[in-house]
């Protein structure tokens, strides 16, 4: 990896008795797009504000390009930030909003004009430069905010849920555009979002922040396949992962997994991955790892009863009671079921994730 443009060293932040961040460590390499993913209230905004210098950490250091910037004012850090509410200057035109960072740095007038026009072209907002933000649509506001941040070349960019209040289609459009912009310009983005699909679509690397702690920093796919703990597994994926208690028993080299009233043989290679002392576990089963099979299938299968149904067009989410345990799984297209229907299910044993029920950490 290239050299880090930003490094957080065990940042903690307390608001009164409430600990918002606990020992957050994060390294952002130059030219990367890192997504800070976490539910509402996880500390994403606080983290960005500490990096920006708008908030002081209670302890820990912020290193920017290998220099300690913990105590520097925001304007000394040379970072651009897009706020979750965009925070345009309401009394200034679109042009002046975009030009503002250049005016502050006393850029010559004709250069300002040239760069604003270029940026407006790039953002497709040339037609609203003369108007004030009150007349902008949501997408235009978003683009102006983006333009104001992109017009200068700061060390890196902080984006705090910038797409959160846009409607679905526009969000996807702008998301794609943002990614393209980042890749073409080679600039460094740190992007906060509570939306895991957005994170997975955008990121090189995702940093999962839950309850003020960095739980996992990983590639997007790795996060999905190998979550570090139960919370991360639950947070990533829709419909969410099935998490059910189970009991592991070992007998003469074969391991059995008891889930509800079901008793399944665990493949040997799975068993090897688990600590030998474990017996009570929680297992995580992604909805796509439960499949419906024919009653005469050669694959191992279990009989369950349908108890919930949610047709979503592209696929259907089905709730099935399997040996006293409720599992959700997805089937393609719209399936006709009714409550109480009996279905044959195959559980993809190789894909099961094991968690310690006490700590929530993944075991396998």
């Amino acid at each position: 990896m290239s050299e880090p443009v930003l490094e957080l060293r065990s940042i903690s932040k307390n608001f009164g008795s409430n600990q918002a961040l606990r020992d957050v460590d994060l390294v952002v390499p130059h030219g990367s797009l890192i997504v800070l993913l976490g539910p509402a209230g996880a500390g994403k905004t606080t983290t960005l504000r500490i990096i920006a210098g708008l908030e002081a950490p209670s302890s820990g250091e912020v290193f920017i390009e290998r220099m300690d910037f913990t105590k520097h004012q925001p304007n000394q850090r040379d970072i651009a930030m897009i706020f979750d509410n965009l925070a345009l200057y309401p009394n200034k035109s679109g042009y002046e909003n975009i030009a503002s960072p250049l005016r502050i740095s006393r850029t010559p007038k004709d250069e300002i004009n040239r760069r604003v026009m270029e940026m407006a072209e790039l953002m497709k907002i040339s037609h609203i430069l003369e108007r004030t933000p009150a007349t902008f649509s949501g997408g235009e506001r978003q683009r102006v905010a983006l333009g104001r941040a992109m017009i200068r070349e700061p060390r890196f960019y902080l984006l705090d849920e910038p797409l959160s209040s846009l409607d679905f289609m526009l969000r996807i459009d702008l998301r794609t555009e943002l990614k393209r912009l980042q890749q073409e310009s080679g600039r460094t983005f740190l992007f906060a979002t509570p939306d895991y699909t957005e994170a997975l679509a955008l990121a090189d690397t995702v940093c999962v922040l839950i309850e003020g702690q960095v739980r996992q920093i990983a590639k997007a796919q790795e996060l999905y396949d190998e979550p570090i703990d139960r919370d991360v597994a639950r947070f990533v994926g829709n419909p969410p992962i099935n998490i059910v208690p189970a009991r592991l028993t070992r007998d003469n080299g074969t391991a059995n997994l008891a889930i509800g009233s079901m008793n399944l043989v665990l493949p040997a290679e799975m068993e090897h991955g688990l600590p030998s002392s474990v017996s009570d576990v929680e297992i995580g089963v992604r909805p796509e790892h439960v499949r419906m099979v024919g009653a005469d299938s050669a694959e191992s299968h279990l009989t369950g009863t349908v108890n919930d149904l949610e047709p979503l067009g592209m696929h259907t989410t089905v709730g099935v009671n399997l040996g006293g345990v409720n599992l959700f799984f997805t089937v393609p297209g719209v399936q006709e079921f009714s409550d109480g229907d009996s279905v044959e299910m195959h559980l993809d044993m190789e894909s099961i994730l094991f968690f310690d029920p006490a700590t929530g950490r993944r075991l396998s």
Binding site: Q73, P74, N75, F83, N85, P90, I104, R141
Partner: protein, 311 residues
Amino acid sequence: MPDAKFTPFNMLALLAGLIFAIFPIFWMVSTSFKLRSEWVTSPPTWVSSAPTVDNYLTILAPQILLDRRGGTQQHGDEGFGGGKDDAAGGAIADFLNRSAWPGIKGSVIISISATILSIVVGLMAAISISRYRFGGNFTPFFILAGRMFPPIAIAIPFVIMFGPGIFDITDTYFGLIVAYAAVTVPFSTWMLKSFVDELPQEIEEAAMMDGYSRWRAHATVTVPLIKGGIIATTLFIFILNWSEFLFALVLTYTNVQTIPVTLNKYFSATEGTLYGVQAALAMVSIIPLIIVGFFIQKHLVRGLTLGAIKR
């Protein structure tokens, strides 16, 4: 279709309220033009039979009246300059030597200076409380503490502090300006704080990210965006200062006067209260407020942050 809001009953209630609010002002206007014999009559004189500007001349240009008294009694009018008042002339003459100009001058200097001081201090306090949580939860309320006592209770320590033993600034413009600012800062702080609170913090933070220092971000972003609030607060504080009586009375002797104190001086044991003169001075004193109020009302609008943020 008639507007549902204007039913006859509503109109009547509105009219009653309007009369109630307007009547004192009407009476003041009317009295300021009345002859001396019409000030207090039974039944009341609604509008003077022979309007006179003598009341105004008494406060603004007493020399004219004195000259008239000195000259022949050609006009025979009933004002101070007229012959009929000669019987009481001695007492009146005292007033004729004292125009209201020192009071007007004092009010203008003190009210304007104290208002500026109060707004500047209040604005800085409001921003530091609202944005930087200055003083935690306690300080903002403590600032109000001074307003929790009756003014006279506060006035006594002021008299002592301003006396020769300590600061020795009784009967100076400076003293009264400081006293007024001290008394109005709680109001300006709290009013301005509410406007700052309403402004999304991110707008000025965006300016800091764009490269402004804190001071410049507040000066170039916060202040213009709460301009309406600052103007409204300024007007409010100015009115408080302009009409203040108690402190002006106890903290001055003869050097410094303000209009409310001057107003109180148009009174004598032999003549009683000079209602017409007081009304005239009151008229003079509200003129600047009306003019200022008229010109700034378009600034007293809210909703300036429209479009700045997503909701």
